[in-house]
């Protein structure tokens, strides 16, 4: 139940926060949330690290690699895009 509670609250936050994200930044938003949801890495690491059986270790390792890819590319790409947004002052 506490899990459900957390889910409910987090969803409220998500809906509230995302709706206020400026239209300008919807593309960066997509890649950022992308990176954030790669938090799945946490679960993957545990599985890859426990090394209970070859199967789980392999699955875990692949999962970690996949998540890691999203983390790295997600954050890098977002920052790369945001760097581009210039205001009049800074722009020229």
């Amino acid at each position: 139940w506490s899990q459900l509670f957390v889910f409910m609250l987090a969803t409220f936050i998500g809906l509230g926060v995302i709706r206020r994200v400026s239209r300008l930044l919807h593309t960066p938003l997509m890649s950022l949330t992308n990176a954030i949801s790669a938090i799945a890495v946490v679960g993957s690491i545990l599985i890859a690290g426990e090394q209970e059986s070859t199967l789980t270790t392999v699955l875990g390792t692949v999962a970690v690699a996949a998540s890691m890819t999203n983390i790295v590319s997600g954050f890098l790409l977002t920052d790369r895009m945001l760097k581009m947004f210039k205001t009049k002052e800074r722009g020229r």
Binding site: V6, A10, T11, I13, G14, I18, R20, V21, S22, L24, L25, H26, T27, P28, L29, S31, L32, T33, N34, A35, I36, S37, A38, I39, A40, V41, V42, G43, S44, I45, A48, G49, Q51, E52, S53, T56, T57, L59, T61, V62, A63, A65, A66, S67, M68, T69, N70, I71, V72, S73, G74, F75, L77, T78, M81, L82, F85, K86, K88, G91
Partner: protein, 468 residues
């Protein structure tokens, strides 16, 4: 350090990560604070990872390190794709996310199976995680393929398609429920996995390329929800929080897009939108005024108020830098130049904003559709750069048009319209655009980059002439 102390320490890092993730999205609400948001996200992620690595369950780090290296090696190139390829890249990473979730689900299932610790709660959560994860995996791959045009863009349809698909999903869900009731029924689990993978593919096949962005953000929210499910499996609140944030963001974006196209979810998912339209051909030969870059330059120089409407074409042609040059050249002559950004111009939300930002055009010059439309009648020249559907007046009056009701930028209300595109080919909606036949419209045919380059030169020439 005692195991208990470590557990607490880990909880602390997770807690901090959750806070940072929320702040990160908050700060994204304005370009000024946006980058801080990214850093918050990075720090949060590091905290969570470090925390996890401290977990006592972990016996060997070798594989983890390997995976980190692989992930980084794969990730860096993916971060450097050209901006036009961002949609594909996003789809691809959703599929990775889905894959990770699915695999963890499988692994957990086999672990608990061996240890005989499967409970209904656990298998139920795992079933949910795997359905969402695996359908996101294959579905996003398909979407990426269509956007990358390695797969056919046009929707592929066959009779009873939707019924069949839904039936498939129903079976998968049924199997999931079955394994919830009898946790050790691994056969049911196998069915769940296979069907989810298949369903992901079949779900995308009938959807046209133009709807991919919407589908992508829908898959985005699925990816998020699968992370949530994983959180339920592992009883991990950080996963649930982050997943929920991701889920709601994907959901909201797709809603925004649907609204901006005046379409419903069901229509997007099952409408097989974007098939070749008969009526596109049926247009009896109407006359079109075509113009040289020189003409365009003249028109622009005689204008006081210019509105530039960029579309997917500008992205394809990578013409944003030429656009910037033109912007500078005109503003230098005291001409007031604004950009009209349609919410679904291009192929993903905010696509145009990023491109123009890349060309260092200050974001104050970008005006949203609703704010610019009232100004249109006072506009001397509307310069349409590779936009089509988003400026198609049919959306306003032609009830039979597939994009009827979609809010558009009313360029047809400007005194003069200049449209730059390579041909009379339709846009992504696959429909003809009467705008190009209107009296006040001049067509400048050719690749946007090319044409704009010439226009800029011409403008410069004029300027010199005027100066002389």
């Amino acid at each position: 350090m005692s195991a208990l102390a470590i557990d607490h320490l880990i909880e602390v890092t997770y807690f901090a990560a959750a806070v940072l993730f929320i702040l990160s999205l908050r700060w994204l609400n304005h370009p000024r604070t946006a980058r801080r948001g990214v850093y918050a996200g990075v720090v949060g992620m590091l905290a969570a990872i470090v925390g996890t690595l401290m977990a006592p369950e972990i016996v060997g780090y070798s594989w983890i390190v390997v995976a980190f290296v692989v992930g980084t090696v794969l990730g860096i190139p993916l971060a450097l794709v050209p901006l036009t390829a961002v949609p594909q890249r996003t789809a691809l990473s959703h599929s990775f996310g889905g894959l990770a979730a699915g695999l963890v689900g499988v692994a957990k299932y086999s672990l608990w199976m061996d240890q005989g610790q499967l409970t209904s709660y656990r298998t139920g959560a795992i079933a949910l995680e795997c359905i969402l994860g695996f359908l996101t995996f294959t579905g996003s791959l398909m979407a990426a393929g269509k956007l990358q045009e390695v797969l056919p863009q046009r929707p592929i349809t066959y009779p009873h398609q939707n019924v069949a698909n839904l039936a498939l999903l129903a079976i998968a869900v049924a199997a999931g429920i079955y394994m919830t009731v009898n946790p050790t029924a691994w056969a049911a689990f196998a069915i769940v996995i296979v069907l989810s993978l298949v369903f992901g593919v079949l779900l995308i096949i009938p959807i046209g390329g133009a709807d991919m962005p919407t589908v992508i953000s829908l898959l985005n929210s699925y990816a998020g929800l699968s992370a949530v499910a994983m959180g339920f499996v592992l009883q991990n609140k950080l996963l649930i929080t982050a997943g929920a944030l991701d889920g709601s963001s994907g959901f909201i974006l797709s809603v925004i897009m649907c609204r901006a196209m005046n379409r419903s979810f069901t229509n997007v998912l099952f409408g097989a939108f974007g098939q070749v339209q008969a009526k596109a051909q049926a247009g009896e030969a109407k006359t079109v005024k075509s113009a040289t870059p020189q003409d365009v330059a003249d028109v622009l120089l005689n204008a006081d108020r210019v509105v530039i409407v960029p579309g997917y074409g500008m992205a394809v042609a990578q013409a944003q830098h030429r656009v910037h040059e033109l912007y500078d050249a005109l503003t230098k002559r005291g001409i007031d130049v604004k950009f009209a950004i349609h919410p679904v111009a291009g192929r993903m939300p905010g696509h145009m904003n990023v491109l123009l930002a890349e060309a260092e055009i200050p974001y104050e010059a970008l005006v949203e559709m609703d704010d610019i439309n009232p100004e249109m009648p006072q506009t001397d020249v509307a310069l349409v750069v590779g936009a089509n559907d988003v400026v198609n007046p049919a959306a306003r009056h032609d009830k039979s048009s597939p994009i009827y009701g979609m809010p558009i930028i009313d360029v047809d209300r400007a005194r003069t319209v200049v449209a730059i595109k390579r041909s009379m080919n339709p846009g992504f909606a696959g429909i003809d655009n009467e705008l190009y036949y209107a009296d006040q419209t001049m067509m400048a045919f050719g690749d946007a980059k090319q044409v704009l380059g010439d226009v800029v030169k011409a403008v410069a020439g004029e300027g010199a002439g005027a100066a002389a």
